[in-house]
């Protein structure tokens, strides 16, 4: 299998009509968008098994088989370093009886993958796209089978298929390749939702540990990441971002830039300032040489007081129940034998990709007469369509004049700086009339990427006289987790710098409340969200609109970081669950099990307990150290993957250093497409989450983020943004519970959520201290130990 990236210098002109109209192809039209699937299904039912895809409006993806028997999938979903491409290819290979190397993905291109497929995010790809690709592949196969029956002259029951060929019996006698079967015909089909599917018991590819298709080229240095892409005639640029989050441009002096060989020009519009040069080092040197005067704006909220600041009613634009309440929490708390209340807090955190964001854009003075394309943008975005609209707005062009091509970049873990870097490149290219590459420096990425929001929680619980939970009340305060481009230039950093404003803040959409509800069978449950605005709100807009430009930030800009609110909500829930168990004098494992009846929930708990050896003694501690073990349980988004985890820690009471030594995760995400790919994902989630739990916290002052590199050094004094080193990585043990007959659910995020409480509970087990603030730094541990020891 290969991935094609259209040649950079010649924007693709092939339209869907063109490849659908080619002789010698079989094309299956299908839809990956939920609303369209419905109309497509209706259409297919009305028309029978094989219909002509007459209505382009109902179609946004194609599976095309060519004369060489190769299969090409035109899909808006993109590879984000998670192995999604491999998993989707396995599904197609299985239903269509082809080899993986016969499959080509054309992904994330607004010209080749028509239709808005939204974002590759939220662990959704395999679970939402997989079944649709499966049906499309089966639709193609049934037609090929029919052709083979006609052409070979035997009933379909006598035929078998392998590697893109159909023939008689196991040996494929008189075999014909798919390309031969199609011949010069031009076959257009619509995906048939009622098509016969292969039984999971006959699977040979799905459910096996197929190696990732993209990895060899990456290790052989033949793979082109976005950062490696070059476009003919491109210039290099660096953006000189404002001296403060709310600073505004006053003046600039570029006289020192003239001494930099290769310096070409400065681009300035509003608060957007960039330097352009003929080569990359010249761009970096020019940015250093440019002298910009900024006027500082209002200060950001104080970092040291964030937990209280987030609860400030002045910053809350909407409050309400996260989900419908169960029972009557207030009465139950009033009647409880014992009540407990605790506040939790998690800080701003970064995606912190090891490859800073990059964007390349070629914005012409006029549209191409053949294609109508005026701006071509290469980006590591999670959604080519939402970015296309936002860039169009930024440049003042019609959406159809903007062509966005996805090119894989370094791992993103959510909405990082990828879209912003693309916008930077587009704005600069428009100004200079040439293709431009913008590579963010590390300080740009750490300093300006959209952050995972800080969150504050208050939990209250009530126990009856027997230690049973009678009330559970969780209130969360959170800034927005949804700052993606969404077709609006006001969501792009460059857009905001030239005066665009974000759209009105929407109703809370569940992203900040992800996994705030619990799946425990408590009689009375209430969950409340307070949505916190990042920026000053305009009076008289119902508190939902930003003030007039320039945007005035109260907190750093936030958006989607892996698992969204789930990391913080699950930390609070599963820590508080342990607090209640301790209050009730119950074992945390048995306490949780007593509120779980779903067999799959019980199964992951038992699998975790067995692997972790919960019934045995906790691990011994080296001299001078304290050892502990903690557990956690959750169901991702309350209705998807089931997870249980056990963490083992060593706490050094002298230094305050916590070391997570072992994490066991039992994981049931339904049907498993690729067990090794899945295990790799879970390991990655766990290790990244241990990093977030122990180390990660964005430092910022009145003007902006101050933790702009990985480690403190002479040139970068003060606290920096450190992530886990190899010596701090736990042993991760994954127990997979496969459900071959169930739907496949995503695994890109769930295990991120399970870690922080398991670690916090382990620290409580080890040292008797309850840590309610992340990260669990040595200072925090020492302070808690000092408080405990009075």
């Amino acid at each position: 299998m290969t991935t094609t990236t259209p040649k950079a210098t010649t924007p693709p002109t092939m339209s869907r009509r063109r490849f659908l109209a080619r002789a010698g192809t079989l094309a299956v039209a299908f839809s990956l968008a939920p609303a369209l699937s419905q109309s497509l299904a209706t259409q297919a039912r009305a028309a029978g098994t094989a219909t002509t895809a007459g209505n382009d409006m109902a179609v946004d993806s194609w599976l095309v088989i060519g004369s060489d028997s190769g299969v090409t999938i035109y899909s808006g979903k993109v590879e984000l370093g998670t192995g999604v491409q491999t998993a989707l290819s396995q599904i197609v290979a299985e239903e269509l009886y082809v080899d993986l190397n016969q499959i080509t993905f054309v992904q994330g291109d607004t010209s080749l993958t028509p239709g808005d497929q939204g974002y590759t995010a939220g662990s959704q790809t395999v679970q939402s796209e997989g079944p649709k690709l499966r049906i499309a592949a089966a639709t193609a196969f049934q037609t090929l089978l029919g052709l083979a029956s006609q052409q070979i002259g035997v009933p379909t029951q006598a035929l078998q298929a392998r590697s893109g060929q159909i023939g008689i019996g196991h040996n494929l006698n008189r075999a014909r390749g798919y390309g031969q079967l199609i011949g010069q015909q031009q076959i257009q089909l619509t995906s048939n939702p009622n098509v016969a599917l292969k039984s999971p018991s006959n699977y040979t590819v799905v459910g096996t540990a197929v190696p990732r298709v993209d990895l060899p080229a990456k290790f052989l240095a033949t793979f082109s990441y976005l950062q490696d892409l070059t476009v003919g005639g491109m210039l290099h640029a660096r953006v000189v971002r404002p001296a403060g989050r709310n600073a505004s441009f006053v003046s600039l002096d570029d006289s020192a830039c003239a001494a930099v060989p290769g310096f070409l020009q400065v681009v300035q519009r509003g608060n957007f300032v960039a330097v352009v040069a003929s080569d990359e080092w010249a761009a970096i040197q020019s940015a250093k040489a440019l002298n910009v005067t900024w006027r500082q704006g209002p200060p950001l909220a104080a970092e040291g007081n964030l937990a209280a600041e987030l609860r400030d009613p002045a910053n809350i634009y909407q409050s309400g129940p996260s989900v419908a309440p169960v029972g009557d929490v207030d009465s139950a708390l009033a009647g409880a034998s014992a009540t407990l209340q605790a506040d939790y807090f998690t800080p701003f955190q970064m995606h912190a990709s090891v490859g800073p964001s990059c964007g390349i854009a070629d914005v012409r003075g006029a549209p191409d007469p053949a294609t109508g394309i005026q701006a071509t943008v290469w980006s590591g975005t999670q959604g080519v369509y939402p970015l296309q609209g936002a860039i169009a707005g930024l440049l003042g062009l019609p959406t159809a004049a903007v062509h966005v091509i996805y090119v894989e970049a370094a791992g993103c873990y959510g909405h990082n700086g990828a879209d912003d870097a693309a916008a930077d490149a587009a704005l600069i290219s428009q100004a200079v009339g040439k293709p431009v590459r913008v590579q963010w420096m590390r300080q740009d990425e750490h300093g300006w990427e959209p952050l995972g929001p800080a969150m504050a929680h208050t939990l209250r619980g009530g126990l009856d006289s027997k230690g049973n939970v009678v009330a559970w009340d969780h209130t969360v305060w959170t800034p927005s987790h949804s700052g993606r481009p969404g077709g609006n230039p006001g969501n792009l950093l460059a857009g905001q710098e030239i005066g665009a404003l974000p759209p009105a803040l929407g109703a809370p959409n569940g992203s900040g409340t992800r996994n705030q509800p619990v799946n425990y069978a408590f009689p009375n449950i209430r969950t409340t969200e307070n949505a916190v605005a990042n920026f000053a709100m305009a009076p008289g807009t119902g508190g939902r609109l930003a003030t007039a430009a320039p945007l005035t930030y109260t907190y750093p800009r936030t958006s989607s970081l892996r698992s969204l609110g789930g990391f913080s909500n699950s930390f609070a829930n599963e820590s508080f669950m342990d607090e209640l168990a301790a209050q009730a004098g119950r074992d945390p494992y048995a306490f949780r099990l007593s509120y779980l009846s779903d067999p799959r929930a019980v199964a992951v708990m038992k699998a975790m307990a067995k692997q972790a050896g919960l019934t045995g003694k906790k691990p011994s501690a080296p001299s001078g150290m304290l050892s502990g073990r903690g557990i956690a349980y959750l169901q991702y988004e309350n209705n998807l993957a089931y997870l249980a985890a056990a963490a083992e820690v060593l706490v050094n009471p002298a230094s305050g250093v916590v070391r997570v030594t072992r994490v066991v995760v039992a994981h049931d995400c339904g049907q498993i497409i690729n067990p090794d790919g899945l295990t790799n994902q879970i390991e990655g989630n766990v290790i990244q989450s241990v990093s977030r739990t122990l180390k990660e916290q964005v430092a910022f002052d009145a003007n902006g983020v101050t933790s702009v590199v990985w480690a403190t050094s002479a040139n970068f004094p003060g606290t920096q943004y450190s992530i886990l080193h190899f010596s701090e990585v736990p042993a991760v043990e994954v127990v997979l519970l496969d459900q071959p007959a169930a739907a496949p659910w995503g695994a890109g995020e769930p295990a991120t959520e399970i870690v922080p409480a398991a670690v916090g509970n382990a620290i409580y087990d080890a040292a008797g201290i309850r840590l309610r603030t992340i990260p669990f730094t040595p200072d925090l541990v020492l302070a808690a130990l000092a408080a405990k020891n009075g």
Binding site: Y225, W281, A410, S713, F726, V729
Partner: protein, 174 residues
């Protein structure tokens, strides 16, 4: 004022003469932009992550801070692009593929080139023992006696990376 610099280097076994207008330009940009190599990556520009790692005369070098002017004519530079022979990938590359030791794999250059310098450095010092997992971990954390450099992975492929390096070391030392 910028000082132009020209160096004749052996890069992955081939002689190249490279000229830059400003001798403070780091080797990383010379390799990537003048020679079109894709192995060394830009990660931080301050020698804190390892993405840009290359070997210069066998010595682990963070090419993002190694100015071209500080290299000498005749210096030998090895990058990830040059590890594979025409016949087969290097044992480290084979092991990383076999162990699926990456997710986004943007740090793959850091891990493979760092490990190559680590293992070859041990061999040059007369130590032909296969490194233990602890020794590999210490090296990648900048905690070994020979190198303070830190190697960062964000996707969480650490366990597989350590295992792949040890697997490759066994083959390289056999």
């Amino acid at each position: 004022m910028a000082t132009p610099v020209t160096r004749t280097l052996s890069i992955n076994g081939t002689t190249h003469t490279v000229s830059v207008d400003d001798g403070t330009e780091p080797l990383l940009y010379v390799l990537r932009n003048l020679l079109g190599l894709k192995g060394p990556k830009f990660g931080c520009g301050v020698a804190q992550c390892g993405a840009c790692t290359v070997l210069v005369d066998g010595v682990i070098t963070r090419s993002c801070v190694k100015q071209l002017a500080t290299l000498n004519d005749g210096d030998s530079v090895t990058t990830l692009d040059g590890l594979a022979s025409s016949a087969r990938p290097h044992p480290l590359q084979q092991a990383f593929i076999a162990r699926q030791a990456g997710q986004c794999a943007y740090c793959g250059n850091a891990m493979i080139m760092g490990a190559l310098g680590f293992i070859e450095g041990r061999i040059a010092a007369g130590n032909r023992a296969v490194p233990s997992e602890d020794e590999i971990t210490q090296f990648l954390s900048g905690e070994s006696s020979t190198s303070p450099l830190v190697y960062l992975c964000r996707c969480g492929s650490h366990q597989r990376i350590v295992s792949a390096i040890q697997q490759a070391a066994k083959e390289m030392l056999s």
